[in-house]
Subunit: 297 residues, 2 copies
């Protein structure tokens, strides 16, 4: 395993070990919803948001331990967004990470409530750190405020609204950029920013982390679109413009495969440039951008 792979795995394992401890337990009458929350939160995932939070906290002089509750809270919020996105009234997805999605396994009512529960638990997990006495209150409140700003109608929820309203409708390149920057970009940026905030980083460092995460998030999303096509091509022999025929506009349908790959390369270079020469100038971040953004090779 490469140095990068080893480091990522270390972060990943630490997150997997910590996550269950933040889940509510033992309240008999509410057992079902708590099971559904655990099912979706602990059901796999790359933990990119948590890893970004841990990595940025460490690079800014903090520790993995300090950042961990905030990293886990970010994964809770991500899990909530997936549960609600999968609902029949939204994307109507029966499968998530190869398993029945939450509403298939637990029914729609419990799935809605499990999503609500994970969103609330994300805030609670961050805010409760105040009572540990280990954090300056300013850092806790700023981290939670970053989260709230990133996932409201000006962030993640807004992105989901744009997404469902453009099903089977044309979308321009500018609108697609806004959609991605809100639906996935905002929480990824918040993950990096919160890591910095917990370590007490100054504003100029937070701005660099933000730029890096902004580029990484968009590159990641475009690559997801490309993987959708290239894996379809290989697996099903479909033409690369099948998404377009299905009414879904992506970077690939708008710009084509080659130009999209070029955009991804440019974003990775821009991400690298953002951290170069700063305290964030670290091989782990360079390689993370490179690996996550170029998974279709």
């Amino acid at each position: 395993m490469s140095g990068y792979g080893k480091q990522f795995d270390e972060y990943y394992q630490a997150v997997e070990a910590a996550l269950p401890g933040y889940l509510p337990q033992g309240e008999v009458l509410q057992k079902t919803v708590q099971e559904a929350m655990a099912y979706s939160l602990l059901g796999g995932g790359k933990r990119i948001r948590a890893v970004l939070c841990l990595a940025f906290c460490r690079l800014c002089g903090g520790t993995v331990e300090e950042a961990m509750p905030f990293a886990c809270a970010l994964e809770m919020v991500h899990a909530y967004s997936l549960i609600h996105d999968d609902l029949p009234c939204m994307d109507d997805d029966d499968l998530r990470r190869g398993k029945p999605s939450c509403h298939i396994r637990y029914g729609e009512a419990i799935a809605v409530l499990a999503g609500d529960g994970l969103l609330t638990l994300g805030f609670e997990t961050m805010l409760n750190q105040y009572y540990t006495g280990k954090y300056p209150p300013q850092r806790v409140v700023k981290a939670a405020a970053e989260l709230a700003q990133a996932i409201g109608t000006g962030g993640m929820i807004g992105g989901q609204v744009i997404d469902i309203q453009h099903e089977n409708k044309p979308i321009t390149g500018d609108e697609l950029n806004i959609l991605h920057s809100l639906k996935t970009g905002a929480l990824i940026r918040a993950s990096a920013r919160i890591g910095c905030i917990i370590a007490g980083a100054p504003d100029d460092v937070i701005a660099k982390a933000d730029q890096y995460a902004k580029d990484l998030g968009l590159a990641f999303q475009i690559t997801d679109d490309l993987l959708d096509i290239t894996s379809t091509e290989e697996a099903l022999g479909k033409p690369i413009d099948s998404d377009q025929e299905n009414g879904k506009t992506t970077y690939a349908t708008l710009y084509g495969l080659e130009r999209s790959r070029q955009i991804v390369r440019e974003l990775v270079l821009d991400a690298d440039l953002a951290i170069k020469g700063s305290v964030l100038d670290d091989p782990f971040l360079y390689q993370m951008a490179d690996r996550l953004a170029q998974r279709d090779r």
Copy 2:
């Protein structure tokens, strides 16, 4: 209008005037969800949670202005809970306050997202007060943490889970108490507590406010059950045990009308006792408990 009525109306009007200003505006692509949020948040309601927050802040030496963003945030969270409770997969209610419920008016997808949006905006509205520089950060973080604890699976969401899992199933008196204390009680208690926290009240005062609100919340809920029956009796001539025939257990079906009214009177006395002789000893609170809890007379 009585002194109480005038004071309540003053708080109520201040909340109605302030609420629209906290709603997100002007993001064209997300317009629909923002409209749905406004539709549900500004669509009436007694504003009891907001009024409790304002009243307790003032009695603890704070101002209405200081408490206002927190009071409005509590109403956002209450509105979110109503939107999600009304969904077809939950209580499937087409009407709310005499108007089409959010999912009837905007569709299910937008209703789920409007609920998510109001929940998130509740936290954002509280947490953003940090940036005004007008509050000690500790108070902001404690207020938001109170909110999170009150509305998670150990609070409001837990109550809704118990509620939907006991439809057409028997429920014991103890379980009904837990259901009410979680589903409506937790947020009402948090409203009073947060008012005190914003004013910087000491823990013993917060504990008195909490006891008052706990009694008030349960008395309010029992009276709601009674109103359901008495208004049905008068309007439709149904027997008082119609709820029982419909499979819904309430205080009235468990204890009967007279004993339930006795319990309400005892709760109001207990609420009064909690604040007697403290800084919270104020005619407004005595009358609020009395009026809200005895609406069926």
